[in-house]
Amino acid sequence: MTARSVRRLKVLMWVSALAPAAWIAGGTFRGWLGVNPIEKVTHVTGLSALVLLLLTLAVTPVRRMARWNRLIQLRRPLGLFAFFYAFLHFSIWMALDLGFQLSWISEDIMERPYITVGFTAFVLLIPLAVTSTRGWIRRLGRRWATLHRLVYITATLGVIHFYWLVKADTSLPLLFAGILTLLLASRIGPWHEKRKRRQAASARRRQQLSTG
């Protein structure tokens, strides 16, 4: 993968990731959000956040399989776009749907399981967005990677949130669940190998110590 194709891919990503926001902005002025715009905008932002989260998770396996090392450059912006839409989704729910009524908000979070998991997923995304800067990556060192494994939990909770809120047609949430399962499963092999390599290395070190 050349630097140029990565640049092209980046442009494509920015345009696509901003498309839902542009669509919402356009619809607000041109009236294509329908007669229940709050519901429509909630759905579009939620769906965008989930799709972007899955795309973020797809970067590593695709990079590994296609040997496109530079693809890693897409991971942070994709993740931040996912957070951007999750934040919009959360804000719309809190401000427009519930009008900042704290009692309604807490009742929803405590008593409605699909909101409980959706809210948890959003909260877990916050530290990931905050620590996505170079400074934080340097400061956290190896712990940064450990922290960012939270994204596996967030994505899982996000898909559960989607599955639990639909009334009858579960085909899309199930498709998302299938893709997420594949993305998570694709990490098991490499993770296993890495562990084996590390064990072998430490065994070698021990051997060297004992013979030396």
């Binding site: 696509s16 990731a17 498309a19 839902p20 669509w23 356009g26 619809g27 002025f29 041109r30 009236g31 294509w32 329908g34 007669v35 229940n36 709050i38 519901e39 579009v44 769906l47 965008s48 799709v51 972007l52 795309l55 427009l96 749907d97 519930l98 009008g99 309604w104 009742e107 929803d108 008593e111 409605r112 399981p113 699909y114 639990w164 809120l165 009334k167 009858a168 047609d169």
Partner: protein, 315 residues
């Protein structure tokens, strides 16, 4: 990447926001014929209805003084899974549905069973317009000027026998014209039911029109049920059979998920849906949620029918 395609609405059909926000006075003041046609999103297809020409309907209010929802709201935001699960699907996908000719079958424990051609079926009844609140189980609501007649008039005409304790309604099955029926999202045909006393209640309506014109396909043409104190899904659409039965009918949503939807489905702000609160609702066209009323505001008229019923158990 999610890229939602905008709906196929030519720019000439899109109502300017200023006009949309001020639609009620716009309808009041504008020259009627042209204004109504310009506002209508449903002039796209010959089989769908143009916007109603009679401006008096948009002036109507419920008995609580709530203004009726706009024609566009009532005809573009529908739950009619036979045409798809998205709210815009029924409006978008019902263009090839043919609501005529139509036959309604009256069957079961009844003295006058038979297949009735729709016009013969309707002929003996006095058709009237009534403004009702419609509360969906999904916690949104509208105020709608329906046109139809009391179901009780029909019940008396077809004369149920002593064995009839419930009425079961069935929607037509036409997968060729109803794309949703080619999916398994719900078991088809859609079935709904009422207790006989609910069916006889003067508020219960068989509906043939809205806003003074025949029902658009997406609203359940040519014949649907309206039970204003129950959640909207009880209002079965495109009815082809009305059967008088002894046992409580197994209705579609009840069968699909008995924990979340029951046979009664009375609007009740105190009994939440397992997944969301039923205490509040969004009236389409309003920003803030409003409190949901017991039996959707019809408690004085219907409450006594359920005096002996445990409403937390019989959802």
């Amino acid at each position: 990447m999610l890229i939602r395609r905008p709906p196929d609405i030519p720019s000439s059909e899109i109502t300017p926001e200023r006009v949309f926000l001020d639609r009620r006075s716009f309808i009041r003041h504008a020259a009627l014929g042209t204004a109504a046609a310009a506002l209508s999103p449903s002039t796209l297809s010959g089989t769908r209805h143009t916007a109603p020409q009679d401006p008096r309907f948009s002036e109507l209010e419920s008995e609580l003084g709530e203004p009726v929802n706009a024609w566009t709201e009532i005809t573009t935001y529908n739950n009619f899974y036979e045409f798809g699960t998205a709210k815009e699907d029924p409006h978008r996908n019902s263009g090839s549905f043919r609501p005529r000719p139509w036959t309604v079958r009256i069957e079961g424990h009844v003295n006058n069973p038979g297949d009735y051609e729709l016009d013969d079926f309707l002929a003996p009844h006095r058709i009237e317009d009534r403004v009702y609140r419609m509360r969906c189980v999904e916690a949104w609501s509208m105020v709608i000027p329906w046109r139809g007649f009391p179901l009780g008039d029909l019940v008396r005409r077809v004369d149920p026998t002593g064995d009839a304790r419930f009425v079961e309604f069935t929607t037509i099955v036409r997968p060729d014209e109803m794309p949703g029926q080619r999916t398994g999202v719900l078991p088809w045909p859609y079935v709904e039911g009422l207790r006989l006393d609910e069916a006889m209640h003067p508020l219960t309506m068989l509906v043939t029109g809205v806003y003074g014109v025949d029902l658009p396909n997406q609203n359940g043409a040519p014949l649907r049920l309206i039970v204003p104190w129950k959640y909207g899904f009880k209002g079965i659409k495109s009815i082809v059979s009305i059967r008088f039965v002894e046992e409580m009918p197994m209705t579609t949503w009840w069968a699909a998920n008995a924990r979340e939807y029951g046979f009664y489905a009375n609007v009740n702000p105190e009994v939440d849906h397992p997944r969301w609160s039923q205490a509040r609702e969004r009236r389409i066209g309003e920003l803030r949620r409003r409190e949901t009323l017991m039996f959707n505001g019809y408690a004085n008229q219907v409450g006594q029918m359920y005096a002996d019923l445990d409403l937390t158990r019989w959802i």
